[in-house]
């Protein structure tokens, strides 16, 4: 929500020099409603770049085909289509040339984007399901989920294979080498992906606020979580609503979420009944955030942690793609 000064600056043309308080409040409300939606991960630059490349068959440069100052509008669509046809022909030529020199280029240098690099890192992980060898169906499902997770963050050329030998199932991954920051995100992408929301007791209690990264021990908090059950879990969240975004004020990254169905009201009631308690969110029993509930929280919010962009993207991708039916451990 904007403060009065920011509101006055942003909407000076509508508010005038001596703002009417009712009009100011109305504009504040419209501004709030207009800035609610958060873009999903499918709107990432990596995705757009990949789609553009797939459509045009070229990376760059973009060739200047005309000197007209065209703006896409209905009366000009025929002309746009004409230039698109010309562009397609040129793109095909560029693509052919690209094929000839492409392998040389990519072998000599790192590509402009990781998404276009050839996989150069191999990882093998042991898969288990409730301590046993997973079923073929579970392995196939896990393969699909893992591919979705990597595609979600733009690593579209990651390969995921299932290998079953000597009564042991393994998942083999071929992907591009990631930088230090992104390396941390990789463990999130390979997590089982069980998201749970817990009450960890009154904020005044020592131990109620948990540091991100520590292991969550339910036995310490059973009194606040009847039956040892979490308040909310994956099925209560709208998978399409998970998205990473940057807080323009703090500059940190966060993962936006929204609940779905009856969980929306349940979450509001749950938080309303626990004002002053600490809400802790875990991923596979590891704390990702822990915060004091200061007011009822409606059906949407954000997981605020010390995330890097890569970590926030990885967490959003993992949560949006669903829970793995298997557990992966290093081979």
């Amino acid at each position: 929500m904007k403060d009065q000064h920011e509101l006055q600056t942003t909407y000076a043309d509508l508010l005038g020099e001596t703002p009417d308080p009712t009009l100011t409040q109305l504009i504040q409300h419209i501004d709030t409603l207009s800035h609610g939606p958060q873009a999903p991960s499918s709107c990432s630059w990596q995705t757009i770049k990949s789609l553009h490349t797939a459509q045009s068959g070229k990376l760059h440069p973009l060739h200047d085909l005309t000197h007209t100052n065209a703006v896409i509008s209905p009366p000009r669509q025929n002309r746009t289509r004409h230039w698109m046809r010309v562009g397609s022909g040129l793109a095909a030529a560029v693509l052919l040339l690209g094929i000839l020199v492409g392998s040389l280029l990519f072998s000599a240098h790192a590509g402009p984007f990781q998404v276009f690099q050839q996989p150069n890192r191999h990882i093998t992980l042991v898969a288990s399901q409730h301590g046993r060898v997973p079923t073929p169906q579970a392995l196939e499902q896990a393969q699909t989920i893992l591919l979705n997770r990597f595609q979600h963050i733009g690593l579209t050329n990651t390969q995921v294979h299932v290998i079953t030998t000597h009564g042991q199932a393994r998942i083999s991954l071929d992907l591009v080498s990631l930088s230090g920051n992104e390396q941390q995100a990789l463990s999130t992408l390979l997590a089982t992906g069980i998201l749970q929301v817990w009450d960890t007791g009154p904020a005044t209690d020592l131990g109620s606020l948990l540091q991100p990264g520590v292991t969550f021990h339910l036995t310490d908090y059973t009194q606040y979580n009847p039956g040892g059950k979490s308040g909310f879990a994956n099925q209560d969240f709208n998978p399409n609503a998970f998205s990473a975004s940057k807080d323009p004020q703090s500059g940190t990254y966060r993962v936006n979420f929204a609940l779905q169905g009856s969980a929306i009201t349940h979450f509001q009631n749950y938080t309303a009944a626990r004002i002053g308690d600490v809400l802790t969110i875990t991923l596979d029993d590891t704390v990702i955030t822990s915060a004091v509930i200061q007011s009822p929280i409606p059906g949407s919010g954000a997981i605020v942690g010390n995330f890097t962009q890569a970590q926030a993207n990885a967490l959003a991708a993992t949560l949006a793609s669903g829970v793995l039916p298997i557990r992966l451990t290093p081979a």
């Binding site: 509008s73 209905p74 949407s300």
Partner: protein
């Protein structure tokens, strides 16, 4: 910083330099993408009312923009107006045969730690819900202008270029619409 006002000369020069760089090399478009993506997405979201369609349309808008970027001339129409014009016509093309809806649901972002008085919070939510109801019943053209002004964060001069009207006509319509909403909210 979110401002719909015209960019300063320095900002315009910086944006022009980014555009020219992107015209030479697509990779340079990324800062422009991050600058405008959320504004485009929110504008489209208010037009279609669901996140999936808004995301698909956002992709379409930027793919069209990337395809047309070589022909864009920074000294002509401002880049923001050019981009939103693409969005405006993309959605008009897609939804010409469909009934358009605008979602003004209370989807505002609520951090887990909210420094809000619970009573004030409830009143605030009720006012937002009342306003959302009024906005849904507004004339589509008026809603379009509000979506461009508030979600798109465009100035009235930029909106005028998007909807092919004069700046004075856009400003007059926005002022009247706000007055109409104010009377209903009272």
């Amino acid at each position: 910083m979110i401002h719909s006002h015209s960019l300063t000369t320095e900002q315009m020069l910086e944006e022009t330099s980014l555009i020219e760089a992107a015209q030479r090399d697509l990779t340079a478009f990324e800062p422009l993408y991050h600058r405008y993506m959320l504004r485009i997405y929110r504008y489209l979201f208010l037009r279609v009312g669901n996140p999936e369609d808004a995301a698909d349309l956002t992709q379409q808008v930027f793919l069209k923009a990337l395809g047309s970027l070589p022909t864009y001339r920074p000294r002509g129409i401002p880049f923001a107006a050019w981009l939103f014009r693409i969005a405006h016509y993309t959605i008009s093309d897609v939804y010409r045969q469909k009934k358009t809806t605008i979602s003004w649901e209370v989807l505002s972002h609520h951090p887990l730690v909210a420094e809000v008085n619970p009573e004030l919070f409830v009143i605030h939510q009720e006012q937002l819900a009342q306003l959302a109801g009024l906005l849904v019943r507004l004339d589509p053209y008026k809603r379009e202008l509000l979506a461009l002004r508030f979600s798109g964060e465009l100035s009235t001069s930029e909106i005028a270029l998007v909807v092919d009207k004069s700046q004075a006509a856009v400003k007059k319509q926005l002022t009247r619409t706000l007055q109409q909403l104010k009377e209903h909210m009272a």
